[in-house]
Structures are given as structure tokens and as C-alpha cells.
């Protein structure tokens, strides 16, 4: 009997019109959703589409999100945003989201990420959509231009690394800590592999945490990250008004028991401490005690991975009744307009601003080195973003540490890196 398939193999097989595929095979897949943002999308596609003399293969399966240059800070960024707007209108792209948040969060918020889909995104963190049980991979501008022109691309079916987590996290430990730990444990050199997260700890996670795991599959160098769709996935989609029609089919996407993996790993969530990655790479991770006392100029809560409503609530638990330390600044850029609305409605925003946090627009901002909140030479920042490459958030000599929203908020209060767990004692999760 034929060996079973992994979740990723099943999705690719369906999209390639095949009964089955095996890791290593090269196949052509049909794309269910193609998207890009203001930096990677229309301004790069337009000259190539013109060169080919074609339009979009299917405007209804293309989404465009302006999030990198928002809001415009000069004439150049304003021109890029206008170009993006005009392109969306001219090509009849109905799923155009202008300045309402970061693409990887805005698309699921609008029900566009469907279990089982093949998703091509013009951004390296496209794997975040894998949290819904999709095969979602990032592509550069030329690949994307070809994809929006033809609706297809070639795929070398990736091998899957299976990572299982068991047990419950200690209070103050979050999905972000899992990923910083895995960057060190699995390394960053996993190109052409997928990573699948499973086990009771992952099953117990909400969609926000699963999105963090899949988002940072990019940091592992993986082609995509996936979590099998389940009741949590269906609940999320039902709640936002975009229910899954065929739940049984979505459940059947789960990897078969006899599927073959590149490697399998099992970790104990209960043993995980808050993790901090040191400059200038997300794999330079140590438990927070290893960086205790590092003085901080700026604490930044932002990005697709680290400024969802759940992340702001983590920060608020630390900041409630406390103040940002003198000489330190805390900048918060909620990941989407919906995040800001929710944070406003439930009092989270009030807690954050009372503590002295400075609110920034929703968008990529300082994470991409494009918007407000950049660093000066020699400054040190702790950030809830996903990568800390040299010079990414501003000056080349700036140092960026990565941590969970708990750890970033705790550092803002203390003025230096410190364990967030003592600050959570006596607060309600």
C-alpha cells in the first residue's frame, strides 16, 4: 500500500491535480490566493506585466495590502502608495486593503485564508497563513509577477520537519519563546523544508499563537510552517463570518500516521523559559537570564508576529499599574486597525498609554526599517518582531534583541532586559 502523505504533500497534490506527490518531486501547482504588499507588489509587477502584455490571471484571487510605506512619510512613499491604489483599481482587485494593517494579519481577519489552499505571497512571512492548514510560501517579485499573470508556479515538494510540543507553558512564556528557542535548536538553514507543529500544546493554542509559530517558520529558513486545521481553526473562521463549508475535508488534511518526515522532534513546553535572541540573528537565543541587565533605549511592540490583540494584552498585563522606566521609550504599533479597535474596546490601549507607551500607526513601520521608530547609532532595542538583522531597524551599529511581548514590556518597565514572570505574579492571565 502507498505510504501516507504529510499535510503539505496533500495540499500540493490536490493543487497539482495529482493523487499523490512525494517530497523532492517538482510539480506545477495552481494558486488559490496570490498576494503582495505595497513594497513587493504592484510597483514591481507592473513593468513585468507590461513587458508580457498581460493582466492579472484572476483579479478575484489576487489580494493587495498596503502596509510597508504606511502612512506616507515623504513624496516617494506617497507615490508608492498611490501607485498601489491606482493599480488595484485599474485591475479590478476587490481585495485591496489600504492602511488597515499588516498583510499577514489582515488577510486572515477578512476570511481570505482557507484551510487546504495554496497561497503565494510576495513576502517572506507568508508562511503565517500556514496556521490555517494551508501551503503558504513566500516569493520574490519576478516569481509573483509570473504567478499573478498565470495563476501557477513550480514547487519542489518540501520534506517536512515535525515538531511536537507537550505540556503547558508557565505563565509568562509564549509562542514567541517557542520560536526563538527553535531558531537556536533547529538552526536557520532549513531551506526547501516545511515545518509542521503538532502535539497537545499546539492543539491547545489559539490561532494567534499558531500564527506566531508559522510566521517564524521563515526564520528557520523553512519554505512554510503548518498546523493541521481543527476545531480552533473552524471557530476562528466562524467567528469572523467566514465559516469552513466542508469541515470533514479540512480535518482530512492532517498528516497521515504513516507519513514520512525529514526529522521529528519533541519538546516539553513546561520546561521552556522566556527566551531572548541577541543581535544580529534570531538563532542567538538564550533563556532571559542569559541577557539579564542589558540596558534598553527602546522597546518595540510591533509587526505581524508580535502586535496582534493577544500580544498587546500580554504587554498590558505587565504594564498595568507600572510605568516605562525613565530613559527608555516604549513604542507600540498595533498590527491592524481591527487590533486597535479591540484594544480600545477592552481597555488594553488605556493600560498601555497610561504606562507611557507611545502609539504608532498600524503597519510594518520600524520592523521593515521603513516607518517610524528607527534606531540611532549605538542604541539598543528589545523588540517583539521576528528578525534582528544588522541595520534592519535603523542605524548599522544599533543592537536589537528579540523577545515575547511579555519580555519586551518587562524590559520597558525595568529599563533593562529582565525576566517578565515576577511582574505577572498576582495578575490575572
Amino acid at each position: 500500500m502507498a505510504r501516507g502523505m504529510t499535510l503539505v504533500e496533500k495540499i500540493i497534490a490536490r493543487a497539482a491535480d495529482r493523487k499523490s506527490v512525494r517530497a523532492g518531486e517538482i510539480v506545477t501547482v495552481g494558486i488559490d490566493l496570490a498576494f503582495a504588499h505595497d513594497s513587493s507588489g504592484p510597483r514591481r509587477w507592473a513593468p513585468m506585466l507590461e513587458e508580457l502584455g498581460v493582466g492579472l490571471w484572476d483579479p478575484d484571487r489576487v489580494a493587495i495590502v498596503s502596509d510597508h510605506y504606511v502612512p506616507a512619510v515623504d513624496a516617494e512613499s506617497a507615490a508608492i502608495l498611490k501607485f498601489t491604489r491606482d493599480f488595484a483599481a485599474a485591475h479590478g482587485v476587490k481585495n485591496f486593503f489600504d492602511m488597515v494593517g499588516i498583510c499577514h494579519l489582515v488577510l486572515p481577519e477578512h476570511g481570505l485564508i482557507r484551510p487546504g489552499a495554496v497561497i503565494a505571497g510576495g513576502d517572506s512571512h507568508t508562511p503565517m497563513a500556514g496556521a490555517f492548514g494551508t501551503y503558504a510560501a513566500g516569493y520574490g517579485a519576478t516569481d509573483m509577477a509570473a504567478i499573478v499573470a498565470t495563476g501557477r508556479t513550480w514547487v519542489s515538494v518540501p520534506e517536512t520537519i515535525r515538531v511536537e510540543w507537550r505540556g503547558a507553558f508557565a505563565d509568562g512564556v509564549a509562542a514567541k519563546d517557542v520560536m526563538l528557542f527553535l531558531c537556536k535548536e533547529l538552526g536557520l538553514d532549513n531551506a526547501f523544508n516545511a515545518v509542521e507543529y503538532a502535539g497537545p500544546t499546539v492543539e491547545a493554542m489559539g490561532m494567534a499563537e499558531r500564527m506566531v509559530l508559522c510566521n517564524m517558520a521563515a526564520e528557520l529558513g523553512c519554505e512554510t510552517g503548518v498546523v493541521a486545521p481543527d476545531g480552533v481553526t473552524f471557530d476562528y473562521l466562524r467567528e469572523i463570518g467566514a465559516p469552513v463549508e466542508d469541515e470533514a475535508a479540512a480535518l482530512a488534511l492532517a498528516s497521515d500516521a504513516d507519513a514520512r518526515y525529514a526529522t521529528r522532534h519533541t519538546f516539553d513546553a513546561g520546561a521552556l523559559e522566556p527566551q531572548i535572541a541577541a543581535p544580529h540573528s534570531p538563532d542567538r537565543t538564550l533563556p532571559v537570564s542569559g541577557h539579564q541587565g542589558v540596558k534598553i533605549d527602546q522597546a518595540y511592540i510591533g509587526a505581524c508576529v508580535g502586535a496582534k490583540i493577544e500580544d498587546l494584552r500580554m504587554a498590558a498585563r505587565v504594564l498595568k499599574g507600572r510605568r516605562v522606566a525613565p530613559g527608555t521609550r516604549l513604542l507600540i504599533a498595533p498590527a491592524s486597525a481591527r487590533t486597535t479597535q479591540e484594544a480600545s474596546a477592552d481597555g488594553t490601549l488605556h493600560t498601555l498609554t497610561e504606562a507611557g507607551a507611545i502609539l504608532l500607526p498600524s503597519g510594518c513601520g520600524a520592523c521593515a526599517g521603513m516607518g517610524a521608530g528607527l534606531l540611532a547609532e549605538g542604541e539598543t532595542c528589545i523588540s517583539s518582531t521576528n528578525r534582528n538583522f544588522k541595520g534592519r531597524m535603523g542605524a548599522k551599529s544599533a543592537n536589537v534583541y528579540l523577545g515575547s511581548p511579555y519580555s519586551v514590556a518587562a524590559a520597558a518597565v525595568a529599563g533593562h532586559i529582565t525576566d517578565p514572570r515576577p511582574m505577572l505574579e498576582g495578575t490575572a492571565p
Binding site: 510605506y69 538553514d189 526599517g369
Partner: protein, 165 residues
């Protein structure tokens, strides 16, 4: 004709090849800052036909194609590395910038004179008098490379068949 090797370490990310705060600039200007955070002289001294040599995960990070575009605009003939990040690798090939996976990349020293035979699949290090062989590109990509990249390849197909199917 040989070119000079510019040698970098592991995990050379696309942010250092195309810094975010400069991404609004025209491609040629952006290219003049390529890799400046780790080698301020690179963009000034690299000559057409030279080689960039990396370690593991060359091109890690952001999907920004401008990283590969910048190397190409500076005239880099090929990138040789122990391993490549997937998106960078696809971007480079799509633009006709040659990427070669070579474990022995670690033996190449800065300034070594290199030359390449793509047909045979060998890299020659003239300075060290060493010859290395590498795996040829996957078959489905050789036609695209021969056409000069993905867009010229699609254009040719369009001209031949009248559609992109």
C-alpha cells in the same frame, strides 16, 4: 575570463544586500549600498565578472528581490555558497543571476581568482589551483536560464504559443 572572489560568512541576509530604509531609491542607487553594513567597500570595488562567496543560508530573510537585483546590477557573475535561502535562490535564478551550491565554498579566500564552466559544472580557483565540481541546475530551470530569466522565458512562450498556458 576570471573574476575576483568577495568572501562573506554564514547567514548573509537580504537586508544587508538591500537595506529597508533605502528601498524607495532607484535600483542603481540602492545597489551602491549593497552589503555596506558588513563591507563598506564592496559596492565600490566589485567589478563586473566578480564572484560573491557565502557560507550557509546565503540570502536569508526578507523576500525583497532587490537583494539579487543589486548583485546583478553590480555585475556579480555568480554567487557561490554552501547553501542558499529558498526565496533568494529562486529570485536570483529568475533574474539570470547564477547561484551555485558548493560545500567547498569555505576554502575560497578573499581575492582568489575564480572562473566558471556552467556546461561542465566546474568552478576553477586559479589562485589555489583547485577545481571543484557542482551539481547542475534542475532540468526544468535550464530552459529558463538559457532564455535569460523568467520574464524573457515567459515572453518567448507567449510569442510561440499565443498564451501563457
Amino acid at each position: 575570463m576570471s573574476g575576483k572572489a568577495f568572501v562573506f560568512g554564514d547567514n548573509i541576509d537580504t537586508d544587508v544586500m538591500a537595506p529597508g530604509y533605502l528601498m524607495k531609491l532607484p535600483p542603481e542607487e540602492l545597489a551602491s549600498h549593497c552589503l555596506s553594513a558588513i563591507d563598506p567597500d564592496f559596492a565600490r570595488t566589485v567589478q563586473p565578472g566578480d564572484f560573491v562567496v557565502g557560507g550557509q543560508s546565503f540570502g536569508i530573510g526578507s523576500s525583497r528581490e532587490q537583494a539579487a537585483v543589486s548583485l546583478k546590477l553590480l555585475g556579480v557573475k555568480a554567487v557561490i555558497a554552501r547553501s542558499f535561502a529558498r526565496i533568494f535562490w529562486r529570485n536570483a535564478i529568475n533574474l539570470g543571476l547564477i547561484c551555485i551550491r558548493l560545500d567547498e565554498a569555505r576554502y575560497i579566500a578573499p581575492g582568489d581568482r575564480l572562473s566558471l564552466d556552467l556546461q561542465v559544472g566546474t568552478l576553477f580557483n586559479h589562485t589555489q589551483d583547485r577545481r571543484y565540481s557542482f551539481d547542475p541546475l534542475p532540468g526544468h530551470l535550464t530552459g529558463m536560464i538559457a532564455d535569460g530569466g523568467l520574464i524573457p522565458h515567459l515572453k518567448k512562450r507567449l510569442a510561440a504559443k499565443g498564451d501563457l498556458a
